[in-house]
Symmetry: C3
Subunit: 323 residues, 3 copies
């Protein structure tokens, strides 16, 4: 049994044309968490394992809600949210044929978004097109997943999850299916993924698909991804990112340009940062990002507010410690 | 200090005459949990110990509420319930004269219900007469218990718990007393238990009493129990169960017939299941159950809904892993 | 990584002129908790560390809320409050120049209140003037602290914390600053501390300042402290305490006289107790306290209610076990 976690805190500022905000935030480089996991060897190549992982808002001691049915949640009163295993709570049986995983887990298309983002979807530099997928954009509850072994670098991940509605409910909100096909070979990594979740409106689904990849040149690692979220009755939300990381001194420079667009409503972001490693477990980091809005968009960074078509900038400066 | 737990997930379906439901559930074989416990030897036969144990809904990452005063609770918003030590949170001092235990603990009559049920009050096969005892049907907060040592197999457990009302409150809802006397001798185990809890209505108590036993024949273990819950102003709720477990192959067959009746309102259940042990810590299991209702009863299994006097069936198919 | 905690339960009674109350309480001698902490040596005198600590109400299994912005919180529904790292959730970087600590932490003036109280601000004997400082009276979220090393016994602790309001919010409720200067030399310990927090009313601060000290004579240890809380538009709340502890037999006698006054509204308390140590980790304790009110005050102990200018008494009798 392994007890593990991350405690990551950052001084963060966001500036918009309407208001700015200064905060102590968490998870600027890695997501703060505490978890318990373990694997039992059952013999004959068979293994059983469990994984219980809770998000921690270490700036204020609170935690994060989960979701019982992959549908909208009413938040708890501020300050009262207790620990849930919202990040992952699964039990698995594995063999040479792959892993069957049951419980609350990541949705496959999220892995493509995070794996091919130099900022790993943490902090102010996160891909501006990240997580347009609604309630199941990152994780789903009541999921049953199959994760294949690697066939010459190719892996398949198939997942179904349940909204647990009565059979008399026609819309079946929260039911969904998802997959990811990935290929890893030395410096190259690419993946194609999609997830589709029924909403409370009959026959309306929220479907996010993406393609991404990275290539490690040694002096630098390049990243690219493109995302598309379809919501019936509205224009598709499209997003893309180009980025790179490069080892510099005792740390890593990170940079990314990302964009999101729903029709003419567009936002573009540039982000630049540096991570200085004090050890394998502890890093100092700083990230700066700048957003431009068009077509009425008003995306603003780090809790600031900007007017339509306004600009916003933000930065994080923090420390991440894992255990 | 011991860190322990269970992660149990099951694909579960319930079918009724009105609606059916399919879910990923937890705790189909053993109750999912995470806990911390430990014992300190104080010398001279004296020991101090603690036990903090939280329920975990590993299908979705949420947890379970506790209860501060043994009175009705308003549930948290779905998805937001964080970890509480709802299953047990006690500190004890023990000597050769027995154990004094303070905190939130099981109520004694629950142990009889679970110990003499082939399905251990988990999953779709659970005794249909289980837990008619209201808020303190399984556990009580603010309890003070005395657990005797074994006198030739006889043990006594006495408990008092408090609703923590002001002295000017006449009803004293949540105050209660309980006991259990058990006898264990080789293959035989029997117990008599009762708990009585004051309600918010003056002089109205909720009192559950039961008698149960098991006998291990080797080729099979037989179980029987009878429960009675008295609520003033209404007819008693009576329940009974006959069941058996038998080792078959690498696992155990489980079967039970149980019934509950409040006057003419009656429900009968038959349940059959198999547990296949992959190791001491990991099991696969499947259970099927069927319920018949009479006199206006409408009990339905696994989240399905059935009309008055309708039938319902359900099954669980899952994996339990302990650590 | 260290997993640590305290489970402390007490049978407690309070008696007032209006009503009395009997409860099973927690934290009568030490605050019940469960926590995770660790330190990593980074070389060159540099260290990184984390501390995640949750309050536990082990009488009923619930936990305690935290606070996201150092402003008033609406409590969760009774029985539903899950574990938060409300007691402390910090990440630190330390060197020979001192420690920089980020997250939710104690406010400095609290340490003076608890360090120089024979009852350590736990249980019925707690200084009656304790914690008049509002939301940040004990802890603050979003804090950035600097803790100096010891210069010949002198230490400085400086802290700033944020309410995380938008820049357009003029009052900046929850923003605050605090410090503590302490001197420890053999039997002598003294400290001066203050914290000041902005409220939701423009230019109105809640400011608590205190001075305290203790001197260990060997046969007894003496304690004294004085506190003052300024709230604009109201009279200052003043408090003071004199107390002592003395080793007697296998345990410690504790006694204190404390008082609080806001203008003519005054309360005085006398408290006497004994702690009997079964081991370094386990103690039995009993405390008795008595309060007198004047000028319309109606302070009552252990959940009892007393009329204006009435008297109240209370006692705790319990066991504390740490792990």
């Amino acid at each position: 049994m392994t007890l593990f976690g991350v405690v990551d805190a950052a001084y963060a500022k966001g500036t918009g044309t309407v208001s700015s905000k200064t905060q102590l935030k968490n998870s600027g480089y890695n997501s703060s968490r505490i978890g318990f996991r373990g694997t039992e060897d059952l013999g004959g190549g068979l293994k059983a394992s469990f994984w219980l992982e809770a998000g921690v808002n270490n700036d204020d001691g609170t935690a994060s809600a989960s979701n019982t049915n992959n549908q909208a949640v009413t938040a708890a009163s501020p300050g009262t949210q207790g620990l849930t295993f919202n990040r992952r709570s699964t039990v698995s049986v594995e063999s040479s044929f792959g892993e069957v995983r049951l419980g609350r887990d990541y949705t496959p298309q999220f892995w493509t978004e995070t794996a091919y983002d130099p900022f790993g979807t943490n902090g102010v530099g996160t891909n501006i097109a990240f997580n347009k997928g609604g309630v199941t954009g990152v994780r789903a509850s009541n999921s049953m997943g199959y994760l294949s072994p690697s066939f010459s670098g190719v892996k398949v991940w198939a997942q179904a999850y349940m909204g647990e509605n009565a059979s008399t409910n026609a819309a079946k909100a929260g039911d969904g299916t998802a997959f990811r096909v990935s290929y890893d070979n030395g410096p190259l990594s690419v993946a194609l993924a999609s997830s589709s979740t029924k909403t409370a409106v009959l026959n309306v689904k929220n479907k996010t698909s993406n393609i991404g990849g990275s290539y490690d040149l040694g002096v630098a690692k390049l990243f690219a991804q493109t995302n598309k979220t379809k919501v019936d009755g509205a224009k598709d939300i499209k997003g893309g990112l180009f980025g790179a990381t490069a080892p510099v001194g005792a740390g890593t420079v990170r940079a990314a340009m990302s964009s999101t667009a729903q029709g003419d409503v567009k936002s573009n972001q540039f982000a630049l940062g540096y991570v200085y490693s004090l050890s394998k477990r502890t890093d100092l980091y700083a990230t700066y990002a700048s957003v431009k809005n068009k077509g009425g968009a008003a995306v603003a960074l780090n809790g600031s507010v900007t007017e339509a078509n306004g600009k916003s900038t933000g930065y994080d400066f923090g420390v991440k410690h894992s255990f």
